[in-house]
Symmetry: C2
Subunit: 234 residues, 2 copies
DNA sequence: ACCTGAACACCGTTCAAGT
DNA sequence: ACCTGAACACCGTTCAAGT
């Protein structure tokens, strides 16, 4: 008697790239970055690893596509018609919230070079700089400053979230841990950091993020420092 | 006859954590992030994987320690005695150059949460903000803005370098590739990005980085925007 | 106390073979 | 054209056993 090998049920409809990307997002949201493996993914999609490779060329591409799906939705949700400054803030806050909801895109953005997701954001920022009447020669540096700041915050948020998840901490546990560590630093070497330990527990990430954006925007509005003179000198 | 197993020669002196960290830095500098494996490391140190684990608890800790060694050297090399603004620039440029020389620390910084390396930089920045006479309540948001901007640029630089290395491109090949990709974007959807494709080839990363720093510094010097009012309102 | 190195439990990726 | 799933070449980490 032939022993029929018991294998898991396979899907009957055929796979699509979109389904793979959506399943990846679900996995990343639910289990964090380490949750996205081809084994997890093929189980969830009731298929084999090879089937996924038919639609997608590598894990890197998959992560990029998942990230791009989120970024595209975020950028499409930015309301049009507001002032340039308000729109720049909306873009920045939109990305902040997107990274908050999907921490893994913070690390996807910082790790994969200037590809589609980054370009979508750059484009949104750049168009507003134009309407703001910023001289062309400052466009690149200015857009880059905003973009890199957003990426920097995103990357840190992602890292903090991942650390907290890996150690089974919630946000408040995590802040307590860092705050405690900072309180124990040598006061002679780290006076400033020690003095920040308290604020750390009560601060509002989103508010601080916005304050940074406004710092840059206010710099943009009043380009009058030594360095811009230096740049003009070239 | 007993066949004596030919094994690689082992070291005779004993291992130290410092030697392990230095060997890791050499590996990371020479072969990039993927070059740091316990197998590579134990071969280089003429020892076994277990020996390394005796001195170091995980790969994560090792990467952190390697990153911290570079950051500590960088921060110690910042000259003292200059004006606060000049020192802030020196810190930023010092980190930029350190990341340029060791791209992997860009990704180590963005991936491991607020630990020693980040604290060293935060402290340096914060002390200068104090001498600048910035009101205490703005310290956190301001220092965070500078720090996150530096991390953002660092992360992007690291990612770009790794991409270039993985594809066997030098800097100019890499810029050509991105520039070509941007030139082919749909002009109706990506007018700004397309217009940047040219500048991309000739731009100076370091100069643009400095321009961003100065944008933030100039915002710091003239805190007068809607958002700071908003923060004060709280 | 410090080290060895085989073994374990994973990865991403490939590919002959199936439909 | 699309999928299967075993196999491959790696990982980080552990641990009984040695000195």
């Amino acid at each position: 008697m032939i022993k029929k090998k018991r294998s898991r049920p396979r899907r009957e409809d055929s796979l699509s790239r979109d389904q793979i990307v959506e399943a990846s997002i679900a996995l990343l949201d639910g289990q964090g970055e380490s949750g996205l493996t081809f084994r997890n993914l093929s189980e969830r999609l009731a298929t084999g690893a090879g089937a996924i490779y038919w639609h997608v060329s590598s894990k890197d591409e998959l992560l990029s596509a998942a990230c791009d799906a989120i970024v595209a939705r975020t950028m499409n949700a930015i309301p049009v018609g507001a002032t340039a400054e308000a729109t720049l803030r909306a873009i920045a806050l939109g990305m902040f919230d997107a990274i908050d909801a999907h921490p893994w895109i913070g690390s996807a953005l910082t790790h994969r070079p200037a590809q589609l997701p980054a370009v979508r954001i750059l484009e949104g920022i750049g168009q507003q700089l134009r309407t703001l009447g910023m001289p062309d020669k400052h466009h690149w540096a200015t857009a880059g400053a905003l973009l890199n700041y957003i990426f920097g915050v995103g990357g840190q948020n992602a890292a903090n979230r991942q650390f907290a998840r890996a150690n089974g901490l919630d946000r408040s546990d995590f802040l307590d841990t860092v705050s405690a560590a900072w309180s124990q630093l040598d006061p002679d070497v780290y006076p400033f950091t020690r003095s920040m330990a308290g604020q750390l527990r009560t601060h509002d990430d989103r508010m601080d993020f916005l304050a940074g954006i406004d710092l840059i925007l206010s710099g943009i509005c009043g380009l009058r420092t030594a360095a811009t003179a230096e740049i003009e000198k070239r």
